[in-house]
């Protein structure tokens, strides 16, 4: 362990390229790369790896998320709300991994002037929060409905006669172009919806956190989070609740065997359709599935975060688990009620310890606001990162299938190896050549690029991005940086301390307290979900409420992504399980069957035994 803390992290412009990944820059647009052109600015800034959301190297298309997301953040915080201490979040890619930089406003006069505008504008939102929240939901659902209704046009051999009789100027080439634009606009709009309310919501969180930390200098962030969260039923838990309901229906209808006898989800559903009780169950399933099973198995940041409906293995696995629990007479109710009561008890306990009546008044006001905004902060994800995200990516896949038909690439998923601007180029290429029936260049141009990019990204998976780059910042400023990404003095000290390579330690955010040693179970996706055995430690890329069934079996959790407020953190606190999130490359460093220690107090994950117990399988 280093005793002396450096005042700078590695130079952002000098990060070496991992072997075999030469030319990785080619797959990303010029503006997300560190360059000599604006090196002076880039070297003056502190950059941290966004391991909360972007724990894997990004396929070029998946840049749509950070690009639109960080436009929306700066647009909202700087150009609309004038958040006093910061203007937004800048963004770069290094070896495929996303780095962020806060932009604190350092001039005090400027901060004060911004505070006046902020007071009027954010004040309007805070004062009318509940009505705006309802309105937001209606508007968001309206936009989702538009996206649902957005139909991909066909590129026909011969256009319909109606174009002629209706005197329609444009043909299918234009409609395809329009479809692409509307699709991308919908994705962009989603991120503006995402940021409309939550950024100032984080301001309210930050205010309460800072107050608590000032009044109680030793308080841990988990206790503060517990006081705020779990205020209402969040739509994020709805999928899990519906799954439990369907499990009960299955038990009532005596359909256990249909689920237990195995086979794929499709086979099980086909078997169910053969009987009256099975069809009865399927009717219930149809009531539950949309939109609730549009939850994806990640956090909606990557194209490979697929919705349950698109990959129903999760549904079947979850159902099997719940049916078994119900038959064993177990209670399936969420510990949320107790969690809420515990949060109230903690809040009451700290409130009583405050010194003065003034402090208690301030505490009530700040906690009240934090709780008010928490329902939206928890709930918005379902609409934006899950439902909206799932619809968007599936329509991108629809578009990709046209490219496959015209030979631009071989597999639907290959489109994600192109940046959105490149997809646009390919689209023009395709439309130019489709209309006149000439050969497109795309079919020769893209497949080797896609192949090379796939190889590079696979190699980049094994690279460990440094947690931070550039000089230690003087101030952090932006409440989102501290609340969401946990950037503070403690984190910076941690990031500056090299991890012990001999004992194979990984570091993340301590998200739920306690220390547990046990056997690791690395789960990359839904297909491995039912391999998790009772008492194992779950090691996953990220988790969300769709993973909830698994949390009932595990003894601790390690996630590559996430932070204090992420799903794994919340559920582990609910279940009293230690959790370390934002652990970076845990799913790659840890092997199933290894004995590991998860320290939810310090955020350190230690691989205790390198030996893998082969009996437990990979």
């Amino acid at each position: 362990m280093a005793n002396k803390q450096p005042n700078t992290f590695p130079d952002p412009l000098s990060v070496p390229t991992p072997e075999g990944c030469e030319g990785w820059e080619e797959m990303y647009p010029y503006y997300v790369l560190f360059s000599e052109d604006r090196a002076e600015y880039e070297r003056s800034k502190f950059w941290f790896q966004n391991r909360y959301h972007l724990m894997d190297p990004l396929k070029p298309f998946d840049l749509v998320t950070p690009e639109f997301c960080y436009i929306a953040i700066a647009n909202r915080n700087n150009r609309i709300f004038q958040l006093p201490p910061a203007t937004g979040v800048d963004f770069r890619i290094v070896n495929g991994y996303g780095y962020l930089s806060g932009s604190p406003v350092l001039d005090e006069e400027r901060v004060a002037a911004r505070a006046v505008t902020f007071g009027q504008r954010a004040g309007h939102y805070f004062e009318n929060w509940t009505e705006i929240e309802k309105d937001w939901l209606e508007r968001a659902k309206g936009e989702i409905a538009k996206l649902e209704a957005l139909e991909m046009p066909d590129l026909p051999e011969l256009e319909d006669m109606s174009l002629v009789t209706n005197h329609q100027a444009h043909g299918a080439g234009y409609e395809m172009h329009q479809f692409f634009n509307r699709l991308m606009e919908a994705k962009h709009l989603a991120w503006h919806f995402h940021m409309e309310m939550i950024l100032i919501g984080f301001g309210a969180y930050h205010t309460f956190f800072e107050f608590c930390q000032q009044a109680f200098p030793e308080i841990d962030k988990q206790s503060i989070a517990n006081m705020i969260m779990g205020m209402g039923t969040t739509p994020m838990n709805r999928a899990d609740d519906e799954l439990k309901r369907l499990a009960r229906v299955a038990v009532d209808l005596d359909l256990d065997d249909a689920f237990r006898s195995g086979g794929s989800a499709e086979e099980i559903f086909e078997r169910l359709a053969d009987s009256d009780t099975g069809r009865q169950w399927l009717e219930e399933y149809d009531k539950s599935k949309y939109p609730w099973f549009m939850v994806n198995t990640g956090d909606g940041m990557y194209s490979h975060h697929r919705a349950w409906l698109d990959d129903p293995r999760m549904i079947v696995t979850g159902l099997k688990g719940y049916i078994t629990e119900l038959r064993a007479g177990k209670d399936l109710s969420r510990p949320q009620e107790q969690q809420r009561a515990e949060g109230d008890r903690i809040a009451q306990g700290y409130r009583e310890l405050l010194e003065s009546e003034d402090d208690r008044k301030a505490f009530d006001a700040m906690l009240g606001l934090a709780r008010l905004v928490s329902v939206h902060i928890e709930g918005h994800k379902f609409y934006i990162e899950h439902w909206w995200h799932g619809l968007f990516y599936n329509k991108v896949r629809d578009l990709s299938r046209v490219f496959v038909r015209y030979g631009f690439w071989n597999d639907t998923e290959d489109i994600f190896y192109l940046h959105q601007a490149e997809v646009y180029e390919a689209l023009i290429d395709m439309l130019l050549t489709w209309a006149g029936e000439w050969p497109a260049r795309g079919p020769k141009y893209w497949p080797p690029k896609v192949q090379r990019r796939r190889e590079i990204l696979e190699r980049l998976q094994d690279w460990t991005p440094p947690p931070a780059l550039g000089p230690v910042p003087e101030v952090v400023g932006d409440p989102v940086l501290s609340m969401l990404w946990g950037v503070d003095g403690d984190a910076l000290r941690e990031w500056a301390t090299p991890v012990d390579a001999d004992t194979t330690q990984l570091r993340g955010t301590p998200a739920s307290s306690g220390v547990v040693e046990g056997l690791a179970r690395v789960v990359h996706g839904v297909d491995q979900m039912d391999t998790v055995q009772q008492g194992e430690i779950l090691v996953a890329p990220t988790t969300n409420p769709s993973w909830t069934p698994v949390f009932r079996r595990i003894s601790a959790c390690v996630a590559d992504g996430g932070g204090m407020m992420s799903h794994a953190a919340i559920v582990c606190r609910e279940h009293g399980l230690p959790a370390v999130v934002g652990a970076g490359r845990a799913t790659r460093a840890v092997k199933t069957g290894q004995r590991i220690r998860v320290d939810g107090n310090t955020g350190i994950v230690t691989i205790l035994e390198d030996r893998v117990d082969r009996g437990r399988g990979e």
């Binding site: 800072e210 200098p217 030793e218 206790s223 306990g349 008044k361 006001a365 101030v475 307290s513």
Partner: protein, 364 residues
């Protein structure tokens, strides 16, 4: 001094202004016992005993004469007078009637503990000043593992003599009452000895950041003196008052411990094997129970407390927590700025915080 005050009174039978007759130290123990805290039983040798001893033996008159000669600004003079008074106390025995009262109380202790010559802790208990002042004045004479009437009598006289220690003399020279025997006097507390396997201190605040939500426990092996005197690195265990969870467990290095010396009486210091020295000596449940006492003491006194405690072996060898002292934490408790001032709207709190955040320097 009230004529009817008994010279020796069992802790639980003290009435009226306990502080005035039994001194601050014993009064505090009496109060804790009355409030239901696990404080070992004992009795007070009250100011009436001090007075009667002084008068019946003629010691007070001699002391007054000696004290009259002292120059309170001269350390040398203070020390010389103090030594002469100590010599007096060493020579003069307790009068027989007083001795019978002490003996009777000690026998009662023997009955209650089921031991012939129960070990006791004998402590001076200053009257007229609060315990913090008394501590400053050096009037905290303590004799541990005292066994038998002869040893007890000697310890009592030594405690009395501590009333005339150079420190105490110098301290009282600055008080209105003057240097002499004065109107306050000295009491001695005799308490059943806590047979400590583990002992230490507890603060109802975190030590450096003064956090009110934390109970900080420091634990050492054997008697608490090794912790109090800072001779070892104690185990540190923190309990959160709100969640009642242990939030810190830091084993220290408890390389020595004070244990009773069964041959000579009193205590002796012994080395501790390394693995024992570096292993936590307090389990979670005990730490939580101790913290619970801390919270209750703080609530009882309405102020942050600094508590001395011990984990003893009861009659049937079961570990039992006992409290030996509780006093207000005096350092770092000045008039505290409120954390927040009330503001008209919730938005105002956010704005105020964001302005503070814009100036908040990163602490590496």
């Amino acid at each position: 001094m009230s004529a009817e005050l008994a010279p020796v009174v069992w802790f639980d039978e003290l009435e009226g202004d306990v502080r005035a007759v039994a001194g601050g130290k014993s009064a505090s123990l009496v109060e804790m016992r009355r409030a239901g805290f696990p404080v070992p039983p004992g009795f007070a040798i009250t100011v009436a005993a001090f007075e009667r001893f002084g008068e019946e033996t003629g010691v007070h008159a001699k002391v007054e004469r000696l004290v009259a000669t002292v120059d309170p600004d001269s350390t040398q003079s203070l020390r010389a007078v103090s030594e002469q008074i100590a010599a007096l106390a060493a020579d003069v025995r307790l009068p027989a009637d007083l001795m019978r009262l002490v003996e009777s109380a000690y026998r009662r202790m023997a009955q209650e503990t089921g031991e012939d010559d129960p070990a006791v802790a004998v402590r001076s208990s200053a009257v007229g000043e609060d315990s913090a002042d008394a501590s400053f004045a050096g009037q905290q004479e303590t004799y541990l593992w005292v066994r038998g009437l002869t040893e007890l009598e000697l310890a009592v006289r030594r405690c009395w003599a501590s009333y005339f220690s150079p420190h105490a003399l110098s301290y009282r020279a600055r008080l209105a009452g003057g240097l002499g025997v004065g109107t306050v006097g000295m009491s001695v507390g005799v308490q059943q000895m806590a047979d400590a396997d583990v002992a230490g201190v507890m603060f109802t605040r975190s030590p450096t950041k003064n956090d009110r939500s934390i109970v900080a426990i420091e634990a050492g092996l054997g008697l608490g003196v090794s912790v109090v005197a800072g001779e070892i690195t104690p185990d540190e265990i923190w309990v959160n008052k709100v969640t009642r969870e242990i939030v810190k467990r830091k084993p220290g290095n408890k390389r020595l411990r004070y244990v009773p010396d069964r041959d000579t009486g009193g205590t002796r210091c012994e080395d501790v094997p390394e693995d024992e020295a570096t292993q936590l000596c307090l389990d979670d449940e005990t730490a939580k129970q101790l913290a619970e006492y801390g919270v209750r003491l703080e609530r009882h006194y309405g102020a942050a407390q600094d508590v001395e405690w011990a984990l003893t072996r009861g009659a049937d060898d079961t570990p039992t927590l006992v409290l030996l002292q509780s006093r207000p934490i005096t350092t770092g408790q000045g008039a505290k700025e409120p954390v927040a001032t009330p503001l008209p709207s919730q938005t105002d709190y956010v704005i105020k915080q964001l302005l503070a955040t814009s100036r908040k320097k990163v602490q590496m």
